[in-house]
Symmetry: C2
Subunit: 306 residues, 2 copies
């Protein structure tokens, strides 16, 4: 299936791709495979019982990447189930973005349901960018569900970004950490207009010396609404830290509902959350350097969401 | 009704009283009035439709106090409704503790339902100590519900302490703050054995320049369980800060579920929570000064809950 100009723009936005990527990839367009490549170490197998693929990464695979971008340029309701088997002691990057171009008056929705098993000692970096565009009045909706299990000594690093054009999103992320496993989450979210975003993250620190660190930053503009449920549960000697910072503008609403629970006296859990507007000193400083108020605001927001 | 030795001990624990207090007071014992005093500025009127009293403080009353301790020395289920009308520009202290002595095998429970209206420019300090004792196997249960409305420029300062002997508690506190109103909450909670405690605090910052500050400190020992829901909602230009610190020991469980929501772009809300054990450096420092581990622990906990 050839890629159109719109497809290429979306690939650039969600996966920083100018052409088809090197290494393993699977491009899904409007519910169908639009390109696939496997390597000696990374196999991609379509599921037989439901839409989606199994991505199987051999133990010990180092420095390879898998791109699995999704393009939605029709007013479909696309649902896909992807399973990742990340072999022991491997070190890989997964790029899993989704972009919607909706020129229709009907809703375009993509629900990506991802399961990731990170085996002993493996490291995975998971980058997910969500993006919407198109001048149709139809909604652009993205509801990702991500389940991650990290075995002993494994590392999962998640970078989840939604910067523009998604009308509605409900993000559910669940992570189980075993002994010595480590999680680093960095979430960036911007909503504007009448958009709404809900992000639910549950982290279960089940193994001794598991550690988790979540940094969530968001900007809510105009009449948009955001809600964050970040839940961290420590069942063993472990450490967890959640930090949520939100900038609120216009008539927006932001709600931050973290939850930390210690089931063990050696669990050490910390949460910090702040909601506020852009600091006026920062604005004034940039404006004295010659920027307009709007430019100063944009500069600060870009830095905040970087 | 004369006060027994047990009654006097309870009055000392919950209200720091050695004899009947000076100023206005109402002592409730086992569901009945055991003593009452009013002053020129403070009236106490029994409710006609349900158990409880109306405490009416004249506008401009300064430096006076009202003691309304409750003693429960029988296995009753005592429920009481108290309403406080705190006149404009007054400055008063309310001491509202409850102590249970349960020598029975049946449950002794006190549910105090308090409504406090703090009128324009008034200041109120509200001190509530909860305490349980007695060698019966019956549970000692305290479920206070407190609703507070603070009018323009008013100040509510709450000191809520539950140190010992309460098997089960569910504390519901709701505060509405109008323009320039201020709330300061200091909560101290210790649970041990199989005790459980739930504290729910909802603060609604409804007026411009309202400010709220909640500091909650708890220690959970043995097999006890604690859960905190602290919810702060800013509807106007306002500032709010919640801080929850918990020390967890033994097989205890602690859950901290704060919630901050900004409905206005000039609302500035911050939350911080931490759950962890006693810092070992602190213990070692005190032990090198000659304290046993137990003594060092107790010293640290006393300082933390002070």
């Amino acid at each position: 299936m050839p890629l159109s100009v719109i497809d290429k723009k979306i690939l650039k936005e969600v996966a920083d791709l100018h052409e088809v990527p090197s290494g393993a990839y699977n491009i899904r367009k409007n519910g169908e495979a639009a390109g696939r490549n496997t390597t000696a170490n990374i196999d991609i197998v379509p599921k037989k019982d439901k839409p989606g693929i199994d991505i199987i990464i051999k133990p010990g695979t180092k420095g390879e990447s898998v791109h699995i971008p999704v393009i939605l340029s029709e007013d479909l309701n696309d649902m896909v189930y992807n399973t990742f088997e990340i072999g022991a002691n491997s070190d890989v990057t997964i790029v899993a973005g989704c972009g919607i171009h909706n020129g229709s008056s009907k809703k375009a929705q993509h629900d990506g349901i991802h399961e990731l098993f990170i085996r002993k000692g493996a490291r995975m970096k998971y980058v997910e960018k969500h993006y919407g565009e198109g001048d149709g009045s139809g909604e652009r909706v993205l509801n990702p569900k991500t389940f991650i299990e990290v075995e002993e000594g494994g590392v999962a690093e998640l970078e989840m970004v939604q910067i523009k054009g998604v009308d509605k999103t409900k993000r559910d992320t669940e992570v189980i950490l075993h002994k010595d496993a480590r999680l680093i989450v960095s979430e960036r979210l911007l909503t504007a207009d009448k958009q709404s975003a809900e992000s639910n993250i549950l982290v279960e620190l089940k193994g001794k010396d598991a550690t988790a660190q979540i940094l969530s930053r968001s900007v809510a503009q105009d009449d948009s609404k955001q809600i964050f449920h970040l839940n961290m549960r420590g069942y063993e000697e472990c450490r967890g830290h959640i930090q949520c910072d939100s900038i609120i503008m216009g008539q927006a609403q932001v709600s931050s509902i973290p939850e930390i629970t210690a089931f063990h006296s050696d669990a050490q859990l910390i949460h910090e959350a702040a909601i506020g507007k852009i600091a006026s000193e920062q604005l004034i400083k940039l404006m004295t350097l010659g920027l307009t108020e709007k430019e100063a605001e944009d500069t600060i927001l870009q830095g905040f969401l970087k």
